[in-house]
């Protein structure tokens, strides 16, 4: 879902950068307040894992493919939507600058879509669904799916505003493809949460409430 440079006019790209910078500042404040020394290596490993798995595009039907974003996973594991913003901002920086994946002028939009929306929908979706159905892993699956799907819907709206995609067509196609790609996001989010909860239950800010 990485938007390339040409897809958004410069002025609009700047607006998304401003929004992104506000959330990046808040994410740094979260890191200062909530991330203790002992967690730093674990956050670094989580980010490295998210980067590696993002490079693995999984085929879905209709000649397209999709990969995990990971903001929901980071937010759920570290117990804050800002953890998703923190990790995804750094992942997107490296992807854009070193690997040409996602534009530079539009990086703000990519951070908003994947980091901010992914982190917030992932975290609050997980909290809300878990409160209702009780199962942490089912909640992680649903939150992972929703974080990706809603990011894609927002992306379609941004590209409609940019004049790149017609609104109805953009929503239909982005929605359809990402409803399927979201299953990958949800599945990996649930499995990774299970593995982390099994190995290091103490890392989780909120216990999963399921004996691993």
């Amino acid at each position: 879902m990485h938007i390339p440079d040409a897809f958004i006019p410069m002025g609009q790209a700047l607006v998304y950068w401003v929004i992104a910078l506000v959330f990046i500042a808040l994410a740094l404040r979260w890191a200062r307040r909530s991330m203790g020394e002992e967690k730093i290596p674990l956050v670094a490993v989580l980010a490295a894992g998210i980067f590696a798995i993002q490079a693995l595009n999984i085929p879905i039907p209709w000649g397209t493919s999709g990969h995990m974003v990971g903001a929901a996973l980071a937010a759920i594991v570290l117990g804050s939507p800002f953890a998703g913003v923190f990790v995804l901002t750094l992942v997107l920086l490296v992807q854009g600058i070193i690997f040409g994946d996602g534009g530079i002028t539009v990086m703000g939009a990519n951070i908003v879509n994947m980091g901010v929306v992914g982190g917030f929908i992932g975290y609050y979706g997980y909290t809300a669904v878990k409160a209702v159905i009780g199962n942490a892993y089912a909640a992680a699956f649903i939150a992972g799916w929703a974080s990706l799907f809603i990011s894609a819907i927002l992306c379609a709206i941004e590209l409609a505003v940019a004049g790149t995609f017609p609104l109805a067509l953009g929503l239909t196609m982005m929605g359809t493809y990402h409803a399927v790609i979201g299953l990958i996001e949800g599945g990996i989010t649930a499995v990774a949460l299970y593995l982390i909860a099994s190995a290091r239950p103490d890392i989780l800010e909120r216990p999963t409430g399921v004996s691993a």
Binding site: H2, D5, A6, F7, I8, M10, A13, A31, R32, M35, G36, K39, I40, P41, L42, A44, V45, A48, F51, A52, A55, L56, N57, I58, P59, I60, W62, G63, T64, S65, G66, H67, V87, L90, L93, V94, Q95, G96, I97, I98, F99, G100, D101, T105, V106, A152, A156, G163, T164, F165, P166, G170, M173, M174, T176, Y177, H178, I181, A199, R200
Partner: protein
Amino acid sequence: METKRFVVIGIAVALVIAVAAPFLASGNPDGLESAFFSIYEAKPFMGSELDEDAAGAAEEQVIATTGNDFSYGALMPDYSIPGMDKTGEVLAVVIGTLLMLALVFAVAKVSARPDN
């Protein structure tokens, strides 16, 4: 599981995925690219045949629409090393994974509160 062991296993898992990714990753365009090609009629919505000429024309049309002609030459474009084949792709993802590890570690170290 102690932190050191968790970190070592975590890095090992990330590197295994990184090495495998270039061999397993789909060559099909991702969801956004696919939607883009379909909207500009270079690829059917529910099919896979991509018309390369139409895809090229679509890219030019987008630049003309948005006026954003900024272009940037990445060091390792599309997770590859120019002039190298599969080995370059494996190296690119491995380098990226290790770089990620170092960068997040450094930024977290600087931003986290030191007394905790």
